[in-house]
Amino acid sequence: MVSISTLRRTGGLADGQTAKAGLVACVFLSALPTVRLSAQGDVDRLAFRFASMTAVTGLEQAMVDSLRALFPGSTRDQAGNVTLTLGQGSPKRLFTCPLDEVGYVVGNILPDGFLLLRRVGGGGGGRTASPLFDQQLEGHRVTVFGARSAVPGVVAVKSTHLTRGRVATGAGAPDPVFTVDNAYVDVGASSAAEVQGLGIAVLAPVSLAKRPQLYGERLLAAPAAGRRAACAALAAAVQAKPKVKGTVVVAFTVQSLYASNAGLASVKARLGPFDDIKTAALPARYADTAAETVALADADRLVREIRQWMEGR
């Protein structure tokens, strides 16, 4: 059954081609730093901004709306992809970047106000999450994207003091990893009604609180930093207004981690065929962790390579 809150998350009627960003954008933007996106294509700023965003696979609407605001003239297709057509004529080429990330949704709301989670993505399809992926939640702050606002919460962890004298810690003692089934989210509520009063319902997206960290020489650490910096490079290349050879379709795609990369497949089916297809990607250290690190110097190089490709050089 589709609830009102589900419709709200999509920003309008489910199949509306002209759906407004409206409420969803407000929800999303209220949770973000107020970094103004200039048209000058500052890849550092874009990478930082994108790394601050949350786009749980299949639930990327908020980031999509943000990208549409960044690129006037872009469109959102039925799958949720953001596409922008540059130039005209042939050859007709496609440059893509996947937006989405492995994340969570609220799976259940308990009578005492705690939330339980279901992971979305990372369960197969060529991209299986590490056994430690869910452990990153334990004892950390998360953001629950409710229908009215981004709600801060934390994932419960045992108090270290109360384990004393109860858990064997010697060599060979059981030391099981933390799994999503143990992830009780505490938003400070004491009842299910209080949770619902915050605009939180089953299926609300949830992610680790995003606080990208710049360190070293232009290193950016954040969950999914590699993907986000690659998308930032593509966005910066487009903002630089390249002299495109033929037609280049730029697509920021959804659901790359689910349903056989349905977002990209949809773009190909609707806007193809294409003479050439490229996907933005950057090498990342500590992949799939909250400290995933990308070198922004690599993003600079990617911007140049994308522009050269678009210009047919």
């Binding site: 949770a31 730093p33 107020t34 930082f48 601050s52 308990l110 005492d112 705690f114 056994p131 430690l132 452990q135 990153q136 334990e138 004892g139 950390h140 702050r141 953001t143 981004a150 709600v151 801060p152 934390v154 994932v155 419960a156 962890v157 045992k158 108090s159 270290t160 003091h161 109360l162 004393r164 004298g165 109860r166 030391d175 099981p176 990893v177 933390f178 143990n182 009780y184 505490d186 938003v187 400070g188 509520a189 004491s190 209080e194 915050l198 609180a209 995003k210 606080r211 990208p212 960290q213 710049l214 360190y215 070293g216 290193l219 650490a221 500590y286 962790t289 909250a290 400290a291 690190t293």
Partner: protein, 361 residues
């Protein structure tokens, strides 16, 4: 780079210290005192920033002094019997023990906690010239175990020399970035509520204290190095000797108010007031003193729970001098984690309890 780090921290801030529309004056006061303490860094042995934050928040009339151990002390009133309130300034974290050839930092823990909570998370190295950003490195292997091998930190360098050029050296402390964040209602989350809440409550009590009502001298201490063995309190206790009659350790009551905890003890729900920490791993409060505490609370209309939990408290090192330890806490969820949760109502209750005890007992 440090400017960038600072900007990063600023720009990523959620509406951290928002005042909820329904906040009472007291809740707003508790938040105003607590938030800057929580957002100060002070691993055991490096409590300077927190001590300075406490000094800034003292009432104008208070004359603080710092003893040789680093404890901050404020004395109020005159005469016997002297009573002592003590809350600790320090927080758990790491200390740099070495710098590897590849530039990564080797660490030792300061205090007890689950190291997995820091693995693959942002890091801050606290240097004399400011904070240097980095990351706690994820393990290379060992996916089947929850606990990682000893943690290391990268500050984004590839050699020992490059790391040292950033001002990093052995002996410095390491934590992760933290923020005070309001949750729903009167609840809040952050790291190092243990024992910034105690420190804040002492400040709030001092601000409202009726000094003319005091019948004896009251010594307020903000202690150092509690998490690594009550070291600051030991120095204070030795200095005061047999002079005090009672010591009130103002510290966390680690609560089982969580779906992950056993309800066999430590049952003090958050939001229901301060807690007489009548039995822990370091001390047992004589029952008559627990009764007196309850009596004071009732007389003043202050919410007070009574319970038993784990952990030690600063007051316990005063007992060899014949001083009675009467620990008072507040309930805390998820202790020693980056996501501790409190209820601000309990901070108010704790402050009122301290004031009531100082003025009437």
């Amino acid at each position: 780079m440090r400017a960038v780090v600072a900007a990063t921290a600023l720009l990523t801030a959620l509406p951290a210290c928002r005042l909820a529309a329904q906040d009472s004056t007291r809740i707003a006061e508790a938040q105003a005192v607590l938030a800057p303490l929580v957002e100060s860094y002070g691993v055991s042995g490096a409590e300077g920033p927190v001590r300075e934050a406490v000094k800034r928040l003292l009432p104008a009339w208070a004359v603080p002094s710092t003893d040789t151990a680093g404890n901050l002390v404020v004395r109020v009133g005159q005469g016997d019997p002297v009573v002592v309130f003590i809350a600790h300034l320090d927080e758990i974290g790491f200390r740099v023990t070495g710098i590897r050839d590849d530039g990564a930092l080797e660490l030792e823990t300061r205090g007890g906690f689950f190291p997995s909570l820091f693995e693959a998370k942002p890091a801050l190295v606290h240097t004399d010239q400011g904070d240097v950003a980095g990351v706690f490195l994820p393990r290379d292997s060992g996916f089947t175990r929850r606990t990682p091998p000893p943690l290391r930190v990268s500050v984004g360098t590839a050699s020992r020399a490059a790391t040292m050029a950033r001002g990093v050296s052995p002996g410095q402390t390491v934590t992760m970035p933290k923020q005070y964040i309001r949750l729903t209602g009167t609840r809040a989350t952050g790291r190092s509520f243990d024992d910034r809440v105690g420190s804040a409550a002492q400040l709030m009590a001092l601000r409202r204290l009726d000094r003319a009502a005091l019948k004896h001298q009251v010594v307020f201490i903000w202690s150092v190095r509690e998490e690594i063995g009550l070291e600051g309190a030991e120095a204070a206790a030795a200095s005061l000797g047999t002079t005090p009659r009672r010591v009130y350790a103002i510290d966390t009551f680690v609560s089982a108010d969580s779906p992950l905890e056993l309800p066999s003890f430590a049952v003090a729900p958050i939001g229901r007031g301060a807690v007489a920490r009548a039995l822990d791993n370091s001390s047992v409060t004589p029952p008559a003193y627990v009764d007196s505490l309850v009596q004071v609370a009732r007389a003043r209309g202050v919410a007070l729970q009574v319970g038993t939990t784990n952990g030690g408290n600063d007051g316990s090192v005063f007992t060899p001098y014949g001083v009675v330890d009467v620990p008072i806490g507040w309930p805390l969820r998820y202790s020693h984690s980056p996501a501790e949760v409190i209820d601000l109502k309990d901070v108010v209750s704790l402050a009122d309890m301290i004031r009531a005890v100082a003025e009437t007992w």
